[in-house]
Amino acid sequence: MALEITAARADPALLDLPWDTPLEEWPDEILAAYPRGISRHVVRFVKLSGRVLAIKEIKTDIARREYEMLRNLRRLDLPSVEPFAVISGRVSRDGEQLDGALITRHLQYSLPYRALYSQSLRKGTASRLIDALAVLLVRLHLAGFWWGDVSLSNTLFRRDAGAFAAYLVDAETGELRVQLSDGQREHDLDIARVNIAGELMDLEAGGLLQEDRDPVEVSERIMTRYRELWSELTDTEIVDTGERWRVDERIRRLNALGFDVGELAMTTDIDGTSIQIQPKVVDAGHHSRRLLRLTGLDVRENQARRLLNDLDSYRAALGRQADDEENVAFDWLHEIYEPLVRSVPKELARKMEPAEFFHELLEHRWYLAEKLKRDLSLPEVKEDYLANVLPTKPDEKEVVGVDTVEMPVVAWDD
């Protein structure tokens, strides 16, 4: 059997990689040492034609299935890593068949939870990671995706204005349905709960968990957060016919959670005294869509929320409430946002994304204002931040070198 590459746009440079060698033995020169979560398969990163790729050695049929599944998730606009290629027909130099490989694009600025824990962390990080995972799980479930292996290890996190945004990284066990049953959702939650508890206990055992809260207790949060969000997004609510404002209120609540309501079912009862409302189609990304429309900036949900708030204050400060929102946004972008994020020196730019930097500036302004007891302009804040804070932050574009572990699913001696 000959080496075969399946990809939407195959990069011929892929052929130059040493596919006749087990991934574990690939030479360091071609590898990029990014952190990984716990996994049973061997995963390595390589730089190829200017991008970083994650290569997972796995049986070909499973690789194909996972590749297709990831493509479907992307098509459904769900946050996951981007599939790049499947390699099959690998043969070693002594003619032995080797497992296939799934290649995905490395998610820039993403951090596995274990890498996060090797940095000094703000209190409550575990909870914020779990909150992000709960949002991801709800979104996946709304789209009919049963994950089957929900865990912190199978999730990547990106900073999102002080919180985190979660991305699915391992779709091996997933199944896609038109709609999940409650049982399937509960099953995923049960799996999530146990895995998260295990992962936090592991951090604790390794002395990495600074928080003094019990992992079992923290892991419970996945259930409560998930259920709160699920019910807000899907519950039927009965309101009095005279209280129609509550329909708007429901929509505003969903917006505040970051969701747009694409379709809302409303039915009145027979005597017309009450209305039943139930969101039917909800789309995540309320704020990021709005910001994208206004400014063309494509950022994460909480970052967008933050930026929109600043845009609002800008508008208020200039007394331009009557102006066209688009025009104000254009000016804000060119007068405030872009000059600030562009002024970050190149060597510091790898530390965080522009929108996160802007969020950090807003945070820093608040902090400095408290300290100095006066108002500060953003350029002023920026000088201080660039001089005193940013240099102390780790490089997160492509984080290097932290403890990662593989527990191979292969037989050896016994």
Binding site: D149, H187, D190, I191, A197, S219
Partner: protein
């Protein structure tokens, strides 16, 4: 310890127009290892989740022991669902890797320790309890994962394709380990797989599902020797049984030039054709023009035996299961010292004691 009973249990997913599991009826004995097997989408996972309490039962009931658990929540059922994917945690000891899920369940420390030690004894992991999983071999790691389930000491174990992502060697090793472990523990187990070889080697009995409908539940031997219908016949066994539709005559069925003695009573309502099945090892191979004429396409040498892959010379005869993807070959196992050549024509028919015959319309077994 407990029996398990699916009592006409049915699951219709919201929005689906047909049941995914349709009136499932299975009685599982105390301590039995039952394997649910079938092609993708046949309803294995759904059945298992129904038993676990994770999927609503729309009609029928589910019993564990003499308790009707149909409406009980998962945690009130005393069953343990073994995940498909078991992570091992590098900073935790083997003992903690085995016991941590009990912490979630609120079991106290000394009891956890007791159960972990007991499980370690059974799994030959006692010397390693204080080590980290990194220091273990692949097989030992797999046993730690099993330990995680054992320490819960449930009435029933539920496993959904637990071996699906292991490499071939470890898969075979672990298969045997799970089966022998289950026998030692004597805990009733329902095990899901799509792999019939796995089902045949592990189960006390096998339940084969297709499109949510139970096709047959029987011991591996009986499934193999007396498949209840054409589907079971084609699913169980590797290489698969040869299945051919042949004309019925007054005194039996015609297999090429050979007459098969099937019995008048059995053929009485069968119509003008029956599906005859013969396993590759039950094929009589002749050169004297008696039987169905086959042209040899490929020979697979196995040493003592060889498999002959061929196609019927008559273009009117097709093996069941042939489709746009291609014709299925006729497969015969022959003596390795007496192998026909590629391109040669041979004549074949089923050995008399090993004829399977099925109704052409319904697929049901005739003999």
């Amino acid at each position: 310890m407990a029996t398990v009973r699916f009592d006409k249990a049915t699951r219709i997913y919201p929005g689906a127009d047909s049941p995914s599991v349709d009136k499932l009826d299975i009685d599982i004995a105390d301590g039995e290892f039952l394997v649910l097997v079938g092609p993708s989408g046949c309803g294995k996972s759904t059945s298992l989740r129904m038993l676990a309490g994770l999927e609503e039962v729309n009609e029928g009931k589910i019993w564990i022991g003499d308790r009707d658990v149909t409406n009980l929540s998962p945690k009130d059922r005393d069953v343990a669902m073994v995940f498909q994917n078991y992570a091992l945690y590098p900073h935790m000891t083997v003992a903690d890797n085995m016991g941590f899920a009990l912490k979630i369940a609120g079991v106290d420390k000394s009891e956890i320790r007791r159960r972990v030690e007991e499980a370690a004894k059974i799994l030959d992991l006692e010397p390693y309890l204080e080590r980290k999983p990194k220091a273990l071999s692949g097989g030992q790691r797999q046993r730690v994962a099993m330990g995680r389930a054992i320490v819960r000491s449930p009435q029933v174990f539920l496993m959904d394709e637990p071996l699906s992502n292991l490499d071939a060697k470890l898969r075979v090793q672990t298969r045997t380990q799970i089966a022998s472990l289950q026998r030692r523990l004597g805990v009733t187990t329902v095990y899901v797989t799509h792999d019939q070889v796995e089902a045949m080697t592990m189960g006390d009995r096998i339940a084969l599902l297709k499109d949510g409908i139970l096709q047959q539940v029987a011991s591996p031997r009986e499934m193999y020797d007396k498949p209840a219908n054409v589907f079971v016949a084609g699913f169980i066994g590797s290489p698969a049984m040869n299945l051919l539709s042949v004309p019925v005559t007054q005194d039996g069925a015609k297999f090429g030039t050979h007459r098969l003695d099937i019995g008048r009573d059995e053929l009485a309502n069968a119509g003008s054709k029956v599906v005859v099945g013969v396993r590759p090892e039950d094929v009589e191979v002749r050169t004297d023009n008696d039987g169905l004429e086959i042209e040899v396409d490929v020979i697979e040498e196995l040493g003592a035996d060889a498999y002959v892959y061929g196609s019927p010379v008559s273009k009117d005869i097709h093996l069941e299961g042939s489709d746009e993807e291609g014709e299925r070959p006729f497969i015969a196992r022959v003596d390795g010292r007496n192998v026909p050549r590629k391109g040669e024509h041979i004549f074949v028919f089923p050995k008399p004691q090993h004829i399977h015959a099925f109704n052409q319309e319904t697929g049901a077994r005739l003999i």
